[in-house]
Amino acid sequence: MYLHIKSDTCVRYKNGGVEQIMFLAMKELMHSKMRFLMIVIIFVLLAWLVFILSGLGNGLSTLAASTFKNMKADYVLFEQGSQNAMGKSLLSDQLVEQVEQLPQVNAASPMGSTMATALKGQSTKNEDKIDIAIIGINPGSFLEPAIVEGSGLSAENPNHVIVNVTMKDDGFKLGDTFQLDGSTESLTIVGFVENQTYNHVTAVFTPMEEWRKITFAAPGSDKGIAGPVNAIMLQGKDIDSSAINDKLPGTDTVTRAEAVQGMPGYKEENGSIMMMLGFLLVISAFVLGVFFYVITMQKTNQFGIMKAIGARNGFLSKAIVSQVFVLSLISIVVGILLTYGTAAIMPKGMPFKLETNLVIIYSVILLIIAVLSSLVSVRKITKIDPLKALGRVE
């Protein structure tokens, strides 16, 4: 039976074409605009919320880990038992040379991170204390991000740093020197970089040497390790992490994605947004499904008449599905426009980041959900008895 319909569909497509299939759907849409406008409004709101949530989720995860995500590294070598978190890992940079010798490893470079507070001048005002993440790297290594303004790091001037452009919004400019809270170190901005945030705050890149000075200011805090670093970033496809773990006892190598998951709070934050999105999609499926079903129920008699004069289930089902398709497409497009409109008027500091491929993915998911939810109505149609249309006075 099912196969039957299939082959019939093909034939219809051939001699019917899109205009033929959409005919009933479009005629009805144009005739009862108000009714369909209601559905479109609801669908637009749902789609809007889906896109905003996905933008927010994306924005938050970017804020949390863009430095990590944008690094040209494939694997990260941590201390064993560090739960893939920078803050819990301490290694010697002597391991860099050893790990570079291992197969599949093309390059290795150490990295360290410390949370700190930048003081703007000697001010005591709230807004003049800025949270920053100090990222220690070797100047000129593959971990150094591309400069958009100014110059890069240099080993000769360890307190010359490059910072994320968002510091400009806080009133910093090239050549400015700022003090670190609770430290005697002061840093001078020599360059700006883009999309570099770590743990939700602005990333400040310093040479390794300077990072050590700031981080291990207290005697003994380096546990006596020579050349302490938090982790070693590795470049190279298909690195066998277990082989490295065997070769270098006391270490743990993971992919960059796993290291991102290991960042404090990252999983929890991302997880809640994804859960909301998931719920929203399920709710959308039910809300839309019920709407389409109610509309179909209202038309039971009409479909019965058409069946009585010879319409096949396929003909009517296609009318429903194509109608839902058109409605969904309109709603999703409007939803996307509204989302971009919202993004344009959002305050600058909002962690909101729309990505075209995410928008496309969620559009397709919504479209599929809508069409699937209309299948309940299609099932209803196939069960309508054409007999009911006879002898019925309205």
Partner: protein, 238 residues
């Protein structure tokens, strides 16, 4: 090949409680092309069941139904819908038009169900509608039509696929006397001029003058009541 509609020995049972009742009891009827037959009877007499079986909407429990030489009583649902589309024109009660289609599309929808609409189909539909006095209403929607106009649209829809059998179910139910006469006269005219085999189920005794034969349905059996003018009757009661 025998044209027209033949119904022979048709019985339809419905389950009721533990037993079954016969809604139709060995009904036989033959309608020739160009013949207009009326079936009258009280409600509950089996008229609707009869029309549903004649119209390929329902399969009989026993007996045979032949439409234009084709035995349809054993066909699948799918094949029945094809028969309905190609061989049978239904004229239903007045409101049974699709609310969001204009008069021309109401007629062409039948063509769309069977594939694409050609220029000839459109021309034929327009000609048909003009013939039925709806030439100026082609773009009107059902809500803008009078009861008579709706019913004439339904007649055009029934004729649009050039079927061999026309079945009318209480076509005058919601019309005043003048309109009712107009509508039935039109059906009779189309049946004669286009050589269709037609059955009209009606309560309306005023309309019987347009029919060639009048049958009465009572408790599931069919009997000939009257033959208007010419031609000998075929068969009646079993």
């Amino acid at each position: 090949m025998t044209k027209g509609l033949q119904i022979s020995g048709v019985t339809k049972y419905y389950a009721e409680g533990s037993g079954r009742i016969a809604a139709l009891d060995h009904v036989s009827l033959k309608v020739e092309p160009g013949e207009f037959v009326a079936v009258v009877g009280p409600s509950g007499s089996g008229k609707s069941t009869f029309l549903s079986i004649a119209g390929a909407l329902l399969r009989p429990s026993e007996g045979e139904v032949t439409v234009n030489g084709q035995l349809i009583s054993k066909l699948s649902d799918r094949e029945l819908s094809k028969i309905r589309l190609q061989e049978i024109g239904f004229i239903m009660q007045s409101s049974n038009l699709v609310p969001y289609l204009n008069v021309l599309d109401q007629v062409l929808i039948v063509k769309r169900m069977s594939g694409r609409v050609s220029k000839e189909d459109k021309a034929f539909a327009i000609q048909l509608l003009e013939e039925l006095g709806l030439g100026s209403k082609l773009k009107s929607y059902p809500e803008e039509l009078s009861g008579g106009e709706k019913q004439r649209t339904a007649i055009a829809r029934a004729l649009s696929n050039n079927p061999n059998v026309i079945l009318a179910d209480e076509p005058t139910a919601s019309l005043d006397t003048k309109r009712a006469h107009e509508v039935v006269e039109l059906i009779a005219h189309e049946v004669k001029s286009r050589r269709k085999a037609a059955i009209m189920v009606t309560h309306d005794e005023r309309m019987l003058e347009y029919c060639d034969k009048i049958y009465r349905m009572e408790d599931g059996t069919l009997s000939l009541l009257q033959t208007n003018q010419r031609e000998a009757m075929n068969l009646v009661k079993v």
